[in-house]
């Protein structure tokens, strides 16, 4: 069973449906006991970092997600959920994240060229780092396939954990992994067949001892 962590932000309907389409049992839950029982955990999220981090903390779920990640359980953060995996974000002030992956989340406004719209919304191609093999999360897809993004902030100072980027002027962090903790800036549940293949790869990942 896959636990989709529900802390009151974002639309979880498509995520749950897409996992259902893959034949996976997914439960949208705010219950720590259910999250502990799950084989895998997905941390979704849209909206502002500060508000989301606070909600996660207030619901007591931040601690549980960290504890489960620490126990080796596969964890996937999606969009804002990926950003929450980092140490801090500079979105409207400075906010602390879960600190599961070293790095910080900053505005893309200063780095994207003139004429590029912020937020970065739409389909963009994934690029894999040249210096290492493609991550298992992408084992069913090919370099250059497109996924769907909606974001204004991006993760930086996390180079060694970057497993995919997307070009929007500079190459922006599109996905990260540190052991059993993974994150996608894009929405696999909105990325058509390519997105489903990424979710499939995550679902097949075993708990690390």
């Amino acid at each position: 069973m896959i636990a989709i962590v529900d802390y009151g932000v974002g639309n979880l309907f498509s995520l749950k449906s897409s996992l259902g389409a893959l034949g996976m049992e997914a439960v949208v839950t705010a219950d720590g006991a259910v999250i502990r029982r799950a084989d895998k955990v997905i941390l979704p999220g849209v909206g502002a970092f500060g508000d989301a981090a606070q909600r996660l903390e207030r619901a007591g779920l931040g601690r549980i997600v960290k504890e489960q990640a620490g126990a080796g359980k596969p964890l996937l953060g999606i969009c804002l959920g990926m950003q929450l995996l980092f140490e801090q974000s500079e979105e409207y002030g400075c906010h602390r994240g879960l600190g599961l992956i070293p790095g910080r989340v900053v505005s893309m406004q200063p780095v994207v060229p003139e004429g590029y719209k912020v937020p970065h919304i739409g389909w963009n191609a994934l690029h894999f780092p040249q210096n290492r093999p493609a991550d298992p999360l992408f084992r069913y897809i090919k370099e250059g396939e497109c996924v769907y993004f909606v974001h204004s902030y991006y993760a930086t100072d996390c180079q060694e954990y970057v497993i995919a980027t997307a070009e929007y002027g500079p190459e922006l962090t599109a996905a990260v992994r540190r052991g059993n903790v993974m994150g996608t800036q894009f929405h696999p549940e909105k990325s058509g067949a390519v997105g489903l293949k990424i979710l499939q790869a995550f679902c097949e990942r075993e708990v690390e001892a």
Partner: protein, 252 residues
């Protein structure tokens, strides 16, 4: 590099997809779920799902249809028709919509745009505008294109974006259903005043019309059409291949 988007529009009445010429003479085309899946499979980048009778008759969207569409199709879904309050946003977002399009609802209450943007983010709020030339001006029409509001379309759109609309769908009533190409003049006037994505709607009749659109107006992000896709006059895989061949960035 972000891709240009090809968006089929599913106008829905009584649970069926319909498309009128110049908004009159509706004809039943297909089942929204089947058609949605078909488009998703053949490479549509997004779907727009309008309850076209909602604004005229005050009818709420058929949320069960929407739920069925959203649980079978995993590409971005925009929903419009009958959106008058933030609660209407909530209702369709819970059924799996990613973006909500407002048209008559924003005309009736312009504060709806900012209220919704504040709650769900700019990226969620699409301002859809039906516009037509009247006395040398682009004029906003309401009630599915039947009522002249007297509003200047360019000014209305500029203000909408200021208030938090994250995307504009511009439907030219002058070219809608005519199939002689998009309304490039009207689209350019809009692109010149906003920096959010602009989706062109109304007038596409063939593949060449999309090529002309993206080549003439590089600031336009997407092309939207209905009947030419529904009746197979333009096939999406072929359209996207041709656009890519002409150097326009497309999702493969």
């Amino acid at each position: 590099m972000i891709t240009k988007r090809i968006i089929p529009c599913l106008d829905v009445k009584d649970g069926r997809v319909v498309k009128g010429v110049n908004f009159a003479g509706l004809s039943d085309v297909s089942d929204p779920v089947e058609l949605g899946r078909f488009y998703s499979d053949c490479g549509a980048d997004e779907l727009v799902f309008y309850d076209i009778t909602a604004s005229a008759e005050g009818r709420a969207l058929f949320t069960d249809i929407l739920t069925r569409v959203a649980s079978t199709i995993f590409i971005p879904l925009t929903v419009g028709g009958g959106i008058y309050t933030v609660d209407d946003f909530d209702r369709v977002l819970k059924c799996g919509a990613d973006k909500v399009s407002v048209n008559s609802g924003a005309i009736r209450d312009p504060a709806l745009i900012s209220a919704a943007a504040k709650r769900y983010g700019d990226q969620c709020v699409v301002l859809s505008v039906d516009a037509k030339r009247v006395d040398g001006q682009f004029r906003v029409f309401a009630k599915g294109g039947r009522e002249d509001t007297g509003l200047d379309a360019i000014e209305w759109i500029r203000r909408g974006v200021q208030n938090g609309a994250g995307e504009i769908v511009l439907n030219s009533i002058d070219t809608d259903g005519v199939k002689k190409g998009f309304d490039l003049e009207m689209l350019k006037a809009v692109c010149d005043v906003v920096d959010v994505p602009v989706i062109a709607s109304g007038g596409a009749g063939c593949i060449e019309d999309f090529v002309t659109l993206f080549q003439t107006l590089p600031k336009v992000d997407a092309g939207l059409a209905a009947s030419i896709f529904h009746f197979g006059q333009v096939k999406i895989p072929q359209l996207k291949r041709e656009l890519a061949r002409q150097g326009i960035t497309m999702r493969r």
